[in-house]
């Protein structure tokens, strides 16, 4: 027996008796009592665990938008049902939210009365000494000579105080209790959980997250237009973006070259960047994968990278039609990359040029004549292979288009699988159908940055730390009561000791035994030896 029945007195009783005739107020009270009962808290916790499962089985919009698209394509029938149940947004769905909101209401309803109860309990004297010790889980007694009752009780109280128990005297007995910290910790833990939730929710409104791809040498300005995509929080306003500029000077990538088992695996990404605040000079910094750069209240993360070949396209008459670096999207670990060059400044605007290119950093020809990349570094060997399309590349319509895709449905293919236009660095090739020439001027890298602003992090961290502190105290501090009772029996004095754990307390037996030996040591010399057994 490690948890006496009175350990349950700290929380709402579960036994709710339903009366046949209840008024609205009683029903309300009954509902509240049920919601804040321990059993409901337990069921809600389990419900929360179960409700979290589907989100790991079905791809989620928040963490895996591509997976969602694939899932929808693969299961058109199921998609309707999943959609109706908000299955692609489980963690913001009405049912998931309902469970945790109920849980937190239950938590508050449970913690507030306990706070009040604990507040009074902490200032109250320990409870009366029980009349019979033998009913308690651990008790012992000794008989002494040569000491009077009061001296024995005094010594007992001193010993208990010295062991940091709170004591009270009831007649010739001492009642002592320790471990109020356990309940304090428990309440701190639960209250801090509420704090975490509120901080996450309110704080989340002030966040923003944006993405930006920067080719080496390019500069980003922290304005709404500077982002490729931006997702602002609820309280995002005009002044939310701190003005600064960030330039990618260089992106260094190292690949494994010695270990055959991991040949070509990336070992390190280091982005060398320069930043500039409105009234400052350019400052150099480094961003790595696990170490973001903090600048002007934002954190800049290096989340992706790839190659950006630089092209020049000239019309047949030699005039410039296009010049620039184009980010190619990596397709595999050896950095075979796919990209699109859209050329609209052609002499004949009806004959715009769309180039769909594959970049093979270290190409190897396969038996069927196609290429593959066998190592992710670029160099003299690197090859870009284009399919060429003629027609409307879609830049004029004004509608935002994906820069990595070309809508070829209304275009004519003039070079394809059998006759691609292939270039190495420095080479110029003639495009078919009199479209002019294309030059591969060089290949640089680009970095994909995520830029975050989350002012609530500090507060969330604070509440988490409080929760941990509370949890550890509440789980590891023993809470127990000890008693000493002294009475006269003829010319002897009988001292009884007893202990009771509140909650789990593996050391209670030892505590009672220690109390006895310490008490004896605190008595006058003459009384230290217990009387011989009659």
């Amino acid at each position: 027996m490690s948890r006496p029945s009175d350990a349950q007195d700290r929380f709402t009783d579960d036994a709710v008796v339903v009366n046949p005739r209840l008024g609205p107020l009683e029903w309300l009270r009954w509902g509240w009592r049920t919601l804040t009962s321990m059993r409901t808290a337990l069921l809600l916790l389990l419900a929360l665990a179960v409700a979290a499962v589907p989100g790991s089985l079905i791809p989620q919009n928040s963490s895996d938008p591509n997976g969602v698209a694939q899932y929808k394509a693969a299961n058109p029938g199921l998609t309707k049902i999943v959609n109706a149940l908000q299955g692609f947004d489980v963690y913001t769905s009405f049912w998931f939210s309902a469970i945790y909101l109920l849980l937190f209401i239950s938590l508050i309803g449970c913690v507030v009365p306990r706070l009040r109860h604990h507040w009074t309990a902490m200032r109250k004297a320990p409870p009366r000494t029980p009349s019979r010790f033998t009913r308690l889980p651990f008790s012992s007694s000794i008989r002494l000579h040569g000491v009077d009752v009061d001296a024995a009780v005094d010594a007992g109280e001193r010993v208990l105080r010295a062991s940091r128990y709170r004591t009270a005297r009831y007649g010739s007995s001492v009642s002592a209790e320790r471990g109020y910290l356990r309940e304090t910790g428990n309440l701190l833990f639960h209250s801090a959980l509420v704090g975490v939730l509120i901080a996450v929710f309110v704080g989340g409104g002030f966040t923003y997250t944006g993405q930006r791809v920067l080719v080496t040498g390019d500069t980003f300005a922290n304005t709404e237009l500077g982002y490729d995509s931006l997702s602002p929080g609820r309280f995002f306003g005009d002044g939310s973006l701190a003005p600064y500029a960030l330039r990618l000077d260089k992106l260094d990538v190292t690949y494994e070259q010695r270990n055959v088992a991991a040949f070509g695996q990336p070992l390190d990404y280091t982005a060398h960047v320069s930043t500039k605040l409105p009234d400052g000079a350019w400052q150099k910094s480094i961003i790595k994968v696990n170490s973001p750069l903090d600048v002007a209240g934002t954190s800049v993360y290096l989340l992706g990278n790839g190659y950006a070949p630089e092209f020049t396209v000239r019309n047949a008459d030699g005039s410039l039609a296009f010049h620039g670096s184009v980010a190619f999207r990596p397709q595999n670990a050896q950095m075979t990359s796919l990209g699109v060059v859209k050329v609209s400044e052609t002499t004949d605007r009806k004959k715009q040029i769309g180039l769909v290119g594959f970049l093979y950093p270290t190409p190897a020809e396969q038996t069927d004549g196609s290429f593959t990349s066998i190592f992710p570094s670029v160099g003299k060997q690197s090859l870009v292979s284009f399919f060429v399309y003629e027609g409307d590349v879609g830049l004029d319509s004004g509608a935002p288009r994906n820069v990595y895709e070309l809508d070829t449905s209304k275009m004519k293919q003039v070079a394809g699988r059998t006759d691609p236009v292939q270039l190495t660095i420095g080479q110029t090739k003639t495009l078919p159908d009199g479209l002019g020439t294309v030059t591969l001027d060089g290949i640089t890298r680009y970095a994909a940055f995520d830029i975050h602003h989350d002012p609530s992090q500090g507060i969330v961290a604070l509440f988490v730390a409080l929760a941990v502190l509370g949890l550890i105290t509440s789980l590891l501090v023993p809470r127990r009561r000890l008693w000493i009772k002294v009475r006269e029996e003829g010319d002897e004095v009988v001292v009884e000791y007893a202990g009771l754990a509140r909650g789990d307390d593996p050391n209670l037996a030892r505590a009672v035994a220690e109390l006895e030996s310490k008490h004896r040591a605190a008595l006058p010399e003459a009384a230290r030896e217990p009387a011989p057994v009659p």
Partner: protein, 334 residues
């Protein structure tokens, strides 16, 4: 190119498995002997019960401790087979430790960066937690379960998960990750012990019920292990440590995610399961304080929590996809 250190590591690991297997046999023999002993004890108690009652009625005892023995005192009875088992576990753990250290040296980093390494180091920690717990509590009756379980896990790991040494992809190069995984494995070590105790507890309850129903005692060795209440308390105390460690796992994971991906929580598959496990164990701790759930109910919750841990390791890692199944840096610049 096969790394020679890795080869030695594998050799050590296979030796460790063999030693654990013999330890398992030794512990099993001990359990068999317990069965026989408990029959003898039952006979003895029947013979002595009358006498016990007489002395319990006695008058003024000088020192009265209400329960017969403080539950903390380890029962130091001789069990040669169990002792052999423990000795073998120690030898196995030494080989196992050697295997993990060499793997780490071969890779030039901590040996817990992929499934094979998690399994290797995780089981090592399980064994160590068990051996350390033995110094404080007599848990020898769990030896067979722990040794058997470790053999099975290591067997699966060497056969199905083995991969050559490879460097850490940049996303995994973080102290927080080192800490996160280490604490997760430690927590799992404690949860494993707690789960084994809960199983024993459920068996004890079943045995008691059978006895109350007047039916025979089929698993007689249970008479030699602690009763259901004591097993429940032990399971609770051990899972409390596991729970604190798991709370740190959750937090260290969130900090690492914040460094790597720029958000501390994103409901990625592994994050979801770490959370589920945490909530289930919180439920277990609550169940211990809830009328009607204490005892069998909470023991089942403890086991459900452990099942989630195994699921998270064995199924989620392999079959679910999410950010944690890294092929390296997420490359799509969306």
């Amino acid at each position: 190119m096969v790394n020679p250190l890795d080869q030695i590591s594998e050799l050590l690991l296979i030796s460790a498995i063999a030693v654990y297997l013999i330890a398992f046999v030794a512990f099993a023999l001990d359990l068999a002997r317990r069965s026989a002993e408990s029959q003898a004890k039952v006979d003895l108690v029947r013979a002595g019960s009358a006498e016990v009652e007489r002395s319990a009625g006695g008058g003024t005892a000088v020192l009265v401790a209400a329960p017969p023995a403080p539950p903390e005192a380890p029962v130091r009875d001789r069990r040669p087979a169990a002792r052999t088992g423990i000795a073998l576990m120690l030898v196995g753990a030494a080989l196992h430790l050697g295997a993990a250290v060499l793997r780490g040296v071969a890779a030039g980093r901590v040996p817990w960066a992929n499934m094979y390494e998690f399994a290797m180091t995780g089981t090592l920690i399980m064994v160590l937690v068990f051996l350390v717990a033995l110094t404080r509590i007599d848990l020898r009756f769990l030896g067979a379960v722990i040794a058997g379980f470790v053999v099975v896990l290591l067997g699966i790991a060497t056969v199905s998960f083995h991969v050559a040494v490879s460097p850490l992809p940049p996303a995994l190069q973080s102290y927080w990750l080192v800490l996160h995984v280490l604490v997760a494995m430690l927590g799992t070590g404690f949860f494993t012990l707690a789960a084994a105790l809960s199983v024993a507890q459920l068996l004890q309850v079943r045995r008691r019920k059978r006895a109350e129903a007047g039916r025979g005692d089929r698993l007689r060795l249970l008479a030699t292990i602690p009763d259901a209440d004591r097993l429940e308390n032990l399971a609770y105390r051990i899972s409390v440590v596991g729970f604190i460690l798991w709370t740190f796992t959750l937090i260290a994971g969130a900090i690492w995610a914040n460094h790597a991906w720029g958000r501390y929580w994103g409901w990625d598959t592994k994050e979801v399961w770490t959370f589920i496990i945490w909530v289930v164990y919180a439920g277990y701790l609550h169940a211990r304080a809830t009328l009607g759930w204490r005892g069998t109910g909470s023991a089942w919750l403890n086991l459900i929590g452990y099942a989630c841990i195994l699921f998270n390791f064995g199924v989620v890692n392999v079959f679910f996809h999410g950010l944690h199944s890294y092929s390296g840096l997420p490359t799509s610049p969306s």
